[in-house]
């Protein structure tokens, strides 16, 4: 099995477009393939497929509940909490947990010497499995609105991968911080989707830099080729980052995407390109035994 993440520093470069079309192409070629939408803040992949929701796995974290009868307002819990999630005013015997700031680390529970802290589960989001023709093919990570970080939901979705598949495609969240890192850390290879604009280049630099620090293998796809300028090409060449594919800017592609249609269904040449690209990656990086 090989895990391929499709990522981009900048949002809206066509990450989901590439991930859904590669997945679609491979499934049509009878390859056992799983698509995981790790963009838990804005998951969209499922909308491109006829897939049946088949269950729900709730992702929670433990947050403290304080028993004010037992609490002595000593302040140790607040001292232990690096997230400032505990507010305490001993003079008026007031203590409050700010659940939005809590990371569920459990330090306050350890800190309390009066047995005043118990914990309850608080929802962060859900992992939704989707089947097609009875086969589990798509997993969606979806963070609840108002939750601060999608990391736990993403981890939980990635944790559902079984050995049943030849290829797992991870549609990564944008940016280069924790949500992105969690996703690419679980991948054997990362495809960075960029566009030939100054914004695209700046964000590509940031994500390529992060992947280099992490010692990860990656290559780039330039989307909307033909617009913008040549600086991204120059950068890839200088940095010796393989250019895996160029996708030309076409109005038909934008239109198909806008209504939730897959271009690889109507454009056999594009499908052929994607299949070839996946094949090359598998050939080069597919035999590493998976550790993480």
């Amino acid at each position: 099995m090989i895990r391929i993440a499709v990522a981009s520093g900048k949002g809206g470069t066509g990450k989901t477009f590439v991930a859904t079309n590669i997945f679609n192409t491979l499934v049509k070629r009878n390859i056992k393939c799983l698509l995981i939408d790790c963009d838990a803040e804005a998951p969209n992949s499922v909308a491109f497929f006829n897939a049946e929701l088949s269950g729900r796995h709730e992702v929670t974290q433990q947050v403290p509940v304080i028993d004010t009868d037992k609490c002595t307002y000593c302040g140790r819990c607040r001292e232990y909490c690096v997230y400032n999630a505990i507010f305490i005013l001993p003079s008026v015997r007031m203590i409050k947990v700010i659940e939005d700031l809590c990371h569920g680390c459990g330090a306050c529970t350890v800190a309390c010497r009066d047995g005043a802290i118990t914990e309850k589960a608080s929802s962060l989001g859900s992992v939704f499995p989707f089947t097609r023709n009875g086969d589990l093919q798509i997993i969606e990570a979806r963070m609840d609105a108002g939750v601060m970080s999608p990391v736990k939901v993403i981890k939980s979705a990635i944790g559902q991968i079984s050995n049943h598949y030849d290829i797992v495609i991870l549609d990564a969240p944008p940016g280069t911080s924790c949500p992105f890192i969690q996703t690419v850390a679980a991948a054997d290879y990362t495809i960075l989707v960029t566009e030939p604009t100054p914004f695209g280049l700046s964000d590509l630099r940031q994500s390529a830099g992060t992947l280099r620090i992490m010692n990860k293998q990656f290559g780039a796809i330039i989307n909307r080729a033909g617009t913008g300028n040549r600086e991204v090409y120059q950068y890839l060449e200088n940095e010796k980052i393989p250019l895996l594919l160029e996708i030309p800017f076409k109005k038909e592609i934008a239109e198909a995407y806008s209504v939730g249609r897959l271009v690889s269904d109507s454009d056999p040449f594009f499908a052929e390109q994607l299949a070839g690209l996946a094949e090359n990656i598998i050939e080069k990086y597919g035999n590493s035994n998976h550790q993480r």
Binding site: G11, N44, A47, Y80, V110, G146, F199, V259
Partner: protein
């Protein structure tokens, strides 16, 4: 007056539009809150006048001279960040949340916490006023706090320089840095596009904005890419009592302007999109 621009979905044109707004009227304070992928400095080339270190949390490290290998810390870590490899206790940097718990409970005092101190906040001047932006070092986390720091600095600069308007260019998504961008902002503008993803991401972003006690208004960008979907978005906004701040067509010149380091308003001040953007901006700053 603080005006936050967010989008839910990435790539809807949020930053290009922020650049246009920044150049549409009087001088302002421009705060780039997209600290993961700060881009506005590319257009505005600000002259930096101040640089501050931002501590993006901490990471645990083990001193193996002191570690007895008791594994006491392994059970306490809720982030699955401590494991055992080759009989040695090891910390997985990627999973470590920096909560300090392991360092507090270690019987040998073998774990210390080191700060992530490679992120920076810059502030200075650009051609239409003052600018503040954060740069999160690759792999560093806690961008919500950096956003707060950027906003605080922007407010300070705003009062020092008598620049009344602070424009906040927010990040994509609906998580912590977005929440930090909209909390307490006077106006929240949500830029979307007429695609299946644009609609669903906008709905989730509206949810979050309402949850944090703000009322967003929506700009549909690139509206002519799919007019039917644009209609759907407008209808949904009406049904949910969300105001429409403007509707803009797809304009190739916006990308051309960007490559030249200009906003569309500077590049083609009299084109129809520029005229429309100025109108939208004037409505936004008047309606307070």
């Amino acid at each position: 007056m603080e005006i936050a621009i967010i989008s839910g979905k990435g790539g809807t044109g949020k930053s290009s539009l922020s650049a246009a707004f920044a150049t549409a009227g009087n001088e302002i304070v421009l705060a780039d809150c997209d600290v993961d992928a700060a881009n506005l400095y590319l257009i505005f080339n600000p002259v930096n006048e101040d640089e501050q270190v931002y501590i993006a949390g901490h990471k645990a490290i083990i001193d193996y001279d002191l570690c007895s290998g008791c594994r006491y810390c392994v059970d306490f870590c809720r982030f699955d960040a401590i494991g055992v490899a080759n009989d040695k206790v090891v910390i997985d940097e990627i999973s470590c949340d920096g909560c300090f718990l392991c360092s507090r409970i270690c019987p040998e005092n073998a774990i210390s916490m080191i700060p992530n101190d490679k992120s920076r906040m810059f502030s200075g001047s650009f051609r239409k006023g003052k600018m503040v932006y954060g740069r999160l070092a690759p792999g560093e986390e806690n961008s919500g706090k950096l956003v707060n720091m950027v906003r605080e600095k922007a407010r300070m600069i705003s009062s020092e320089n008598n620049l009344d308007i602070i424009l906040l260019d927010g990040p994509a998504g609906i998580g912590c840095p977005v929440i930090s961008t909209i909390t307490g902002a006077d106006r929240v503008i949500l830029v979307t596009e007429p695609t299946v993803s644009g609609l669903s991401d906008m709905q989730r972003a509206v949810d979050v904005v309402l949850k944090f006690g703000r009322k967003p208004s929506v700009i549909v960008n690139k509206a002519d890419i799919n007019e039917q979907m644009t209609g759907k978005i407008i209808e949904w906004c009406h049904e949910n009592n969300i105001g429409i701040a403007g509707i803009l067509p797809f304009e190739k010149k916006i990308a051309e302007a960007m490559i030249r380091g200009l906003s569309i308003i500077e590049y083609e001040p009299e084109c129809s999109v520029s005229i429309e953007i100025r109108k939208i901006w004037n409505n936004i700053i008047k309606s307070n």
